[in-house]
């Protein structure tokens, strides 16, 4: 039973870790912090692994990740020891001007606004699901994401005639 559980969990981890790390990075803007969030998310998920229905596991994992991000778990001092040293070099050409502008625009948003923008446009979740995840009205999600989108568009290059 335990071995089967771990096998399933390992498969899920392998299939989803990169996706959730990207979401976490979009939430917090730091790859190390993103990995901490994702690791904490998987640790919590493991505790309830047997009780989570397969068709809802993504939603459940996303909710954990969001709660961890909003609760600032990363700074609460709870850390998990891993055998991998997290420090590594930044890949060449990573910090392009547009990328830095997007990063600044995201950093200017409140954590909840940022989470709404990420969930709506990176995770492609419908407004209703984002509202449910954050415990707010759909109207709030619409208005807050509109502000976030406005802030992001202000730093994005103007679309070319073809793109228009």
């Amino acid at each position: 039973m335990g071995a089967s559980r771990d096998l399933d969990f390992s498969e899920y981890f392998a299939a989803r870790v990169q996706r959730f790390r990207r979401v976490a990075f979009a939430f917090c803007g730091d790859w190390h912090a993103a990995e901490d969030l994702v690791q904490a998310m998987f640790v919590q998920l493991y505790r309830r692994w047997r009780r989570v229905r397969p068709d809802t596991v993504d939603a459940y994992a996303r909710r954990i990740l969001l709660n961890l991000f909003l609760a600032g778990r990363r700074t609460s001092g709870r850390e998990y020891v891993t055998s991998v040293v997290p420090e590594r070099e930044s890949p060449p050409g990573r910090d392009t001007p547009v990328r830095l502008d997007v990063e600044r625009a995201l950093a200017d948003l409140t954590p909840r606004q940022r989470a709404m923008v990420v969930l709506r446009f990176l995770e492609d979740l419908p407004v209703a699901e984002v509202a449910s995840l954050l415990g707010v009205a759909e109207g709030t999600v619409k208005s807050q994401t509109a502000r976030g989108v406005e802030a992001l568009r202000a730093v994005l290059p103007a679309p070319t005639a073809e793109e228009r």
Partner: protein, 247 residues
Amino acid sequence: MEDVRTALTAYVTEGEPPLGLSEDAVLSAARRSRRQHLLTGVVALVVVVLALGLAVVVLPHRDPVAARPCPSASDTRSALVDRLSCVIGHAVRSMLDPAAQITRLTIPGEAPPEDPFHLIADPAGDAPRDALFHLGVRVTDARGSGSVYVVIVPSANSGGPPCEEPGELLCRREQTPQGVLWLSTLRSGDVLTHRVALATSGAVVQFSSNNSGVLERAGVSLPAQRPDPALTLAQVRELALTPGLDF
């Protein structure tokens, strides 16, 4: 909105560093966390069970009637005894440390009642009030053992115990709205007794407290079992003035 989607996707994919999380490390941390979580749950459960066990053992020995209102009926002697016993029990307990042990001082031939404050009624007539009501309890706390006695005589105002008794350290009379109070402190050997009697138009109510947990008996010298009586003179005075000890 496609531009925002594209920008966000590029933000999280361009220059993405290699994955620093390993499956083994995360699984190992998850197992460890789960074990800690289970252990915490077990410890919490044990604490709850212990607390409940303690409550089951301790609570039945605490006063179960402390907060219960006293009955008001006095139409039979039994009802009158129940009412007076309840009023006396509440009044005396309120003056003692909650941790103090209260046990009945039984007179020869008496089986201790469940409520140590249950009055004995020695009949003196047919009416419910025509009796001599009395009781004694031993009070044991950190300072030792002492006693509290109550005597209620439902007769016309006959006055309190006379002053100038042997061993009298203090004796005074006091007029109160409820009636006349007689207060005295007596010494007999090492035993000190505070005694206060209230004489109303319908009864004499007398409370006394000493520093011996042994039943008072005529001609028997009592051992002192604590430095002072279980209750102070002021407390005994307050007991004598307890509302509800009328007929």
